[in-house]
C-alpha cells in the first residue's frame, strides 16, 4: 500500500520522512505523557508535600513572618539571630553532632555485629532474628515511654535492681551527662531494620568465599568486614 496525498498523487520521499518523524515524535510524546500520568500521584505528592514546603521554607527564612500578618522581607536577619543571638541553637547543634558522631556508628556496628552473630548461630536462628528485629516494630513514642519507665531513677526496674546491689543508679534521662548515652541505648535497642539489611547482605555472600578467604589467611574481622 503506497502513501498518497488527498488528491491521490503519491507523496515525495522528503515529505514522507517528515511525516514519519512527526508520527514518531507524537508517539514518543504520547509515551512520555503516559509515563507522566502513571507517575502523577507521586509527582503531586512530592510537589505538594515536599518541594513546595521546601522552597517556601527557604523563602520564608528570609522574611519576618508571624503566621498572622503577611511575610515581610528581612534579608539575613533571621539567620543573624539564629547563629549569634539565640542562646539555645549552638547547644542543639552540639547535641545533634554528638548523636551523629557517636550514635550512628554505634548503631551500624551493633547491627552488623548482630547480623554476623545470627549467621554463625547453629540453633534458634529464627527465634533470635525475631527477638532482635521486634523492637524495630515498636512505635517510637511507645518505646520511649517504656524506656522512661524502665530507667526512672526511683521506681524504674534498672535502678531498683542496682539499688539491691548497693549501687545508686544514675539519673538516666534527667542528668545532662547521662541523657545522651541513655538515648544511644534506646537507639541501639531499635536497630532491627539495619540488622536485617546487613543480614541479607551477609547471607548473600556464598559460603565458599568465606572458606577460601580463611584458606588465604584472612582473620575473622577481614572475613566479615563489609
Amino acid at each position: 500500500m503506497s502513501q498518497s496525498s488527498v488528491a491521490g498523487e503519491p507523496l515525495p520521499a522528503a515529505a514522507l520522512t517528515v511525516d514519519r518523524r512527526r508520527a514518531r515524535r507524537k508517539a514518543a510524546w504520547r509515551r512520555r505523557g503516559l509515563v507522566l500520568l502513571f507517575m502523577s500521584p507521586w509527582l503531586v505528592g512530592f510537589t505538594v508535600f515536599f518541594l513546595y514546603p521546601l522552597v517556601m521554607s527557604a523563602y520564608l527564612s528570609f522574611n519576618h513572618y508571624d503566621l498572622l500578618a503577611p511575610p515581610r522581607w528581612v534579608g539575613w536577619a533571621n539567620y543573624h539571630y539564629l547563629f549569634w543571638q539565640d542562646p539555645q541553637v549552638w547547644t542543639a547543634i552540639k547535641n545533634t553532632i554528638w548523636l551523629i558522631v557517636v550514635m550512628v556508628p554505634l548503631q551500624i556496628a551493633f547491627a552488623f555485629g548482630l547480623a554476623v552473630m545470627l549467621t554463625r548461630a547453629r540453633m534458634g536462628v529464627g527465634a533470635f532474628r525475631t527477638v532482635f528485629y521486634l523492637p524495630a516494630l515498636a512505635p517510637p513514642v511507645a518505646a520511649t515511654l517504656a524506656f522512661v519507665y524502665i530507667l526512672n531513677p526511683v521506681t524504674g526496674p534498672v535502678n531498683v535492681l542496682l539499688g539491691h546491689l548497693g549501687i545508686q543508679g544514675p539519673l538516666w534521662f534527667q542528668d545532662p551527662h547521662w541523657s545522651k548515652p541513655s538515648l544511644v541505648g534506646l537507639g541501639l535497642w531499635g536497630v532491627g531494620t539495619i540488622m536485617i539489611i546487613f543480614l541479607a547482605a551477609v547471607l548473600d555472600v556464598p559460603r565458599q568465599l568465606y572458606e577460601s578467604a580463611e584458606l588465604d589467611g584472612a582473620n575473622a574481622f577481614q572475613r566479615s568486614a563489609p
Binding site: L68, A77, Q85, P87, N152, P153, L171, Q174, D175
Partner: protein, 442 residues
Amino acid sequence: MRRVGTAFAVLAALALLAAGAAMSSPRATPEAKTAPTKLTLWVGWSARELSVFKQVVAEYDKKNPNVTVDVVGSINDNKIVAAIRAGTAPDVVSSFNSYNVGVYCGTGGWINLAPLMAKDHISASMFPAATQYYTQYNGVRCALPLLADTYGLYYNKTLFKAAGITSPPKTMSELAADAKKLTVRNSNGTIKVAGIDPVIGFYENVPERWITSYGGKWQDAKGNSILSKDPAWTKWLTWQKSLVDWFGYNNLVRFQAGLGDEFSSSNAFEAGKVAMNLDGEWRVAFIQAEHPNLNYATAPMPVDDAHPELYGSGYINGTIIGIPKNGKHTAEAWDLVRYLTTNSHALAELSNGLRNVPTTKASAVSPEIKPDAHFATFIKIFTNPKSTTSPITAAGVAYTNLVQHFATQWQAGQVKNLHSGLVSLDKQLDALVHQAKGPGVP
C-alpha cells in the same frame, strides 16, 4: 348615615395606625421569620469543664433567640493561629495563654475591642489592673479576661502540726526555715517528704510566679529587659539556689522523678509528698474531687523579708477571649464576648463550675460565688492591687520561657557568675523581642 361615616373614619384610622405600627417596627416581623445567626465559639476547655462552659453559653442562647452559639472545645493557640491564617476562624475565640496577647493584638489577628467597648460604655477599669494589662498590647485591647488563674501557697496542716509549725510562712526566710523543718529524708539521704520543692520547672514553679514575691521588675519604660539591674532578681535567684543546694540538686531531681503527674490524683501535694506547694486556685477543685479528706489550707505566697507590704499579692494570668479578624458577625460576636466577660452572673456560674477566679471586680464579690475558705484566698489575691502578671511582648510565651531556661541552668550550677549571666539574659531577651517584632519595628 353620619354614624356610618364616623364608623368608617374610625376604622380607617385604626387600619392606618395598624399599618403604621407594622411599618415602624420592620425588624420584628422579618427577624421572627429568619433563622437565628449561628455563632461559633472556640475554647480550650474539654470534658467536664467544657460542659460547665456550655451550660453558661446555653443560658445566653436562651436569652438571645436571634443567635445560636456552637461551642467547640479542646482548642489551642496553634489551631487559632492556623484558622485565622486560613480565613476559617470562628466568630469568637478563647485562649488559655494570656502570654500570647502580644501576638494577637500586635498582628491584628484579633480585632481591637476598644471601639466596641466605648460604644457600650464598658470601661476596662471594671477589671483589676493585672488583667487589664494582660489583655492588651501596646495600647491595643484585642482581648478581655474570661476567668483568671491566681497563684498562692498550699500547705498540709497535718505535716505542719507534726513539725510544730502553727501558721503559714509570710516571708521568704520563714518559707526556707519551714521547708527545712518539714523535710524528711530517707536513711540514705534521699528525700522522703520535701518541705517545698523549689526546683524551677517542677509543676507550677516558673520564675514569673516567684518573682512576684520580690516585686521584681522585668522591663524599663522603653521595654528593655532590666533583670540584671533590678536587685529583686538577684535576691530571688540567690534564695532559690541556696534552698536547692540545701536539698541537693540531684536529690531533688531524683525525688521529682518518683512523684506522680501534676494533674492526677498522685499529685505530690495531694499525696503528702510535699508539705507546701505553689499552685493555682484550680487545685481546690482537684483536691475536693480526688482527696476530699486532705487536711490543708491556702495562703498568699510568702514575700521578700524587706517588702512585707507585698504580702497578700500574687501572680495572675488567665484565659482571654476575643474576636478574630475578618469575622462575619462582629456585632453578635461582641455581644457574646461582652456577656461572658462582664456579666456577674455568668462569671459566677463559670467560677463555681470551673473553680477559676471570676474576672471583674464586681463578680469577685458576687454573692453567687460558692463560699469556700480555700478558694477565698485566691479571690483576695486576685483583687490585691499589688498582684502582678508577666510582661506582654511580641515574643509571646517565648519571653518567659527564656527566663525559665536561664533559671534551670542557674539552679543546676551551670551559671558561674549570676550578674554576668543576668546581663547576658537581658541582651537575649531584648534580641528576642526585636526578632519577634521584626527588623525596623521600634
